[in-house]
Amino acid sequence: MAEPLPTLDVLRRELDAGRVSSLELVEAALARAERLEPRLHAFVGLRGAAASAEAAQADARRGRGEVRSPLDGIPVAVKDNQVLAGEPTTCASRILAGFVSPYEATAVARLRAAGAVVIGRTNLDEFAMGSSTENSAFGATRNPWDLERAPGGSSGGSAAAVAAGVVPVALGSDTGGSIRQPAAFCGVVGLKPTYGRVSRYGLVAFASSLDQVGPFARSAADCARVLQTIAGHDARDSTSIPEPAPACLEALSGDVSGLVLGLPREYFVAEGVDPEVLARVREAVAELERAGAKMREVSLPHTRHAIATYYLIAPAEASSNLARYDGVRYGHRAADAATLGDMYRRTRSEGFGSEVKRRILLGTYVLSAGYYDAYYRKALQVRTLLRRDFERALAACDVLVTPTAPEVAFRLGEKSADPLRMYLSDVYTVSANLAGVPGLSIPCGFAHGMPVGLQLLGRALDEATLLRVADAYQRRTEWHARRPPELA
């Protein structure tokens, strides 16, 4: 059986009813992953026998009546920038060649403690730097809806794996849109929680003040369940919010009447946005209005500065975060270096790909003597202005509704020669990372035959309302149930 897997909620009921075993599910997921891998290339590594063994244990628990959670025995995938104890983590980089983590990321550990079975580690842009999953040392992932197109990025492997029905849910990470944009491109649900909602312990840092772990799923309800499992305070992450995991599932009432949804003016007039994409978003807005939500136009006046702000802050943090890859304690080391300096330079030059080097250089530059105030400090000040934009807008409404990306999935290679054009594809997503607020992307139709994403942005810690709106929308529409044509 290598059929696409249904949603987590369906699988859970099948398991509970005894109509299927966890071992069958996990082996089906592995078989499907392997069959699609040559065309999709969603995975960096599959866990094969180890995953099957964990599934058998889940079945044994179930047999004893000791089911740990609704996730017990469910196959999942994890972006390969979150460490699993005793297993390799590559971040899709040559520089981590051979690295085996002796410890486990908190979010992964919580998912596994709930019984979920990680079947594999998914592909990404090297160190999560990119918007297409083309910057992987192991080759690009492809979009299940059109193999000539990018799945988005950087969590393209996780998005593609969920879209192709390999796994019902997967973990990604989002620094400037790396969950939401690939979710939109692949026609799945992707949630970037509030900064600090999910522990970053064990998430390999790209830009520490922006990075956040979150789930991909085929429905808002499944997303809610995964969030509830992985969220909540972690004493090992100083930036973790000291709040328990939100009770999102309870909030999924299907009712949005009385909620005020804000339409940020700037997101609908942006240059280069595909009118077809905007049309789908407006249709979704109309649907939500029919469901009883009130619409209101709002303004996020500093939106046009978000990309510049982001591409100063993120590379600056990255340049420092990536200094630890020095060939001393783990990972790649250049052969036969005569001196320490030679070893450092050759190791890092051989180990990092172009995009990573570009961002290290940019970040080093903006932090260096004489430029700090003009670039880095300035960006932190604009970040304050962006944050205030959101505070003001979200005082007047409950949720902001926008497109997730200005266009549908672009063709592989289309933007790789032009870094700035690639950066601009994050135009709708980076603000949420800069402001720390949660963001959710859900499928809302098609343009040019490719899925379109609707983005919902909310108040800090209010993932529940985002998921409630998404769930209500999904009860009234069927876009999220659409499947890519079976990959021949």
Binding site: P102, V204, R236, D237, S238, R329, L340, T364, S368
Partner: protein, 487 residues
């Protein structure tokens, strides 16, 4: 030990001291702070800088830092920020050191330093005190690491340090030495650090420049690194003053550089010329939240501060009528001062106790290493011994060596005196016998004593002591001799 000032140049010195805070675990992870073990025995994902690991600040390190800042009269900042200092070196696993830069824990402050032999004090202003993590250890020694490489041990990586930066207020190597001794004493007083120099708990870098006497502008300074004993600091500064003065005398410029001191040749040697300023690309560490110290926490810390050395010195001098010098000696460490005060209270006559502590306790301490509270000698035991002497149960000269013994094994002084057979002989018959024997052996002496030669009394006393193996009660012997004199 005040050396003559330089005839032509005024010396300007500022010191940066790194002090290891006395914690059980590292600054940002739970690894033990421990030395002398095999490499990488105290390491975890955080201090190894594994991908994905994150720092969490140690509460005790903050409390100790706060205590030090208050003891040094600093202004504690309500908000301080941990920043990353970026540079590559194998003992710096993250490729950056977490330190405080633009917004340190504390600013201002001062230390009043007593200058040896001059009686006066000098106020040395502090620029700042901040927290940071230590680096690991690179071992370049060929015997260990071989010809073509170096070894890296991260046991020390992440150990909490306090960096204490002084203003350039010091004017001589001797003042620098006195400042460092006072700083070390203060930190030990408030229990912030063991400040053990041999273990590298207290490390000093110095900035030094010369300017022609009377000039107001500062000269170009050089930096002396890793001065790990007080003797080295003074030696290195003297050598560097000489080196800079020679250059200036020859009409050359001093080049801004980092130097190392070689104690064998007593010379400084340029390690690195600073062509352009280092570019450490400091920025706030996004993995850590700014540290906020609330005023209540600050007041609690202030209230919990023990009496500081200066204040204690003054109080002891006044309360016990001690000389400034004696008071200084007795307050050298908090443990010694505590010991003295406990003994003085138990005994009732502080002067007597001070004499015993200053002479016998310090003497015995010098012969071993460590503080009084690390010995087995309790203040009550010293008082017991002193009382035995006062009651004539043991002679002072027999009692003094017992101080060291009591430090070693502790216990009751009376039992020790008995065990050693040192109980003073007060038996008049026995003593009269001994006196008569001495007088019989030296018949002329009694005559000379009668003739008024006072020192003869001491000679005769000594002879009697020899015969009684020092156990004779001196007062009783003197009585007998006086009687014989009148006979």
């Amino acid at each position: 030990m005040s050396a003559a000032p330089h005839p032509r140049y005024e010396v300007v010195i500022g010191l940066e001291v790194h002090v290891q805070l006395r914690t059980e675990s590292k600054l940002f992870c739970g690894c033990a702070v421990r030395y002398g073990e095999d490499p990488n025995h105290h390491a975890c994902p955080v201090c190894l800088a594994l991908p994905g690991a994150l720092p969490v600040l140690n509460r005790q390190a903050v409390e100790l830092a706060l205590r030090a800042a208050l003891a040094a009269h600093c202004t504690v900042q309500g908000r301080s920020v941990f920043a990353r200092k970026n540079y590559f070196y194998p003992d710096l696993p993250k490729g950056y050191q977490i330190s405080q830069y633009e917004e340190p824990l504390a600013t201002g402050g001062f230390l009043d330093v007593e200058l040896d032999g001059e009686g006066g004090t000098q106020r040395v202003r502090l620029t700042r005190i901040h927290m940071e993590e230590d680096a690991g250890k690179s071992i370049h020694d060929r015997a260990v690491a071989g010809q073509d490489g170096s070894h890296v041990d991260l046991n020390r990586a992440g150990v909490p340090l306090l960096e204490i930066v002084s203003e350039p207020d010091l004017r001589s190597p001797e003042q620098a030495g006195a400042y460092l001794r006072a700083l070390r004493q203060l930190l030990r007083y408030v229990d912030v650090s063991d400040a053990d120099l041999e273990k590298g708990h207290f490390r000093c870098d110095a900035n030094l420049s010369l300017r022609p006497r009377g000039a107001s502008e500062l000269g170009i300074r050089t930096e002396l690194k890793n001065l790990n004993s007080f003797r080295f600091v003074e030696g290195a500064l003297r050598a560097e003053i000489e080196r800079q003065a020679e250059r200036l005398d020859a009409g050359e410029r001093v080049v801004q550089a980092t130097l190392l001191y070689d104690p064998a040749t007593e010379r400084t040697r340029v390690m690195r010329v600073k062509e352009n300023a280092d570019d450490y690309r400091y920025f706030p560490d996004p993995d850590l939240i700014p540290l906020e110290i609330e005023s209540e926490a600050l007041e609690r810390a202030r209230a919990a501060l023990p009496e500081l050395p200066e204040a204690r010195r003054r109080r002891l001098a006044e309360a016990y009528e001690l000389s400034a010098y004696d008071a200084r000696q007795l307050t050298e460490s908090r443990a010694l001062a505590d010991f003295f005060e406990a003994a003085a209270r138990a005994h009732g006559n502080p002067k007597t106790v001070a004499n015993w502590v200053l002479r016998d306790v310090l003497q015995a301490l010098k012969e071993r290493s460590g503080e009084i509270d690390a010995t087995a000698l309790a203040p009550e035991a010293l008082v017991g011994l002193v009382r035995l002497v006062e009651k004539g149960k043991v002679t002072a000269s027999n009692a003094r060596p017992l101080v060291a013994e009591l430090m070693q094994r502790g216990g009751d002084p009376q039992a020790l005196v008995r065990e050693r057979g040192l109980e003073a002989v007060a038996d008049t018959g026995l003593l009269e016998g001994a006196v008569d024997e001495v007088l019989a052996a030296h018949p002329e002496m009694l005559e000379r004593l009668r003739a008024g030669e006072e020192k003869i009394l001491n000679f005769l006393m000594g002879q009697v002591m020899r015969r009684t193996r020092g156990k004779a009660n001196p007062a009783a012997v003197r009585d007998i001799l006086n009687r014989r004199l009148k006979d």
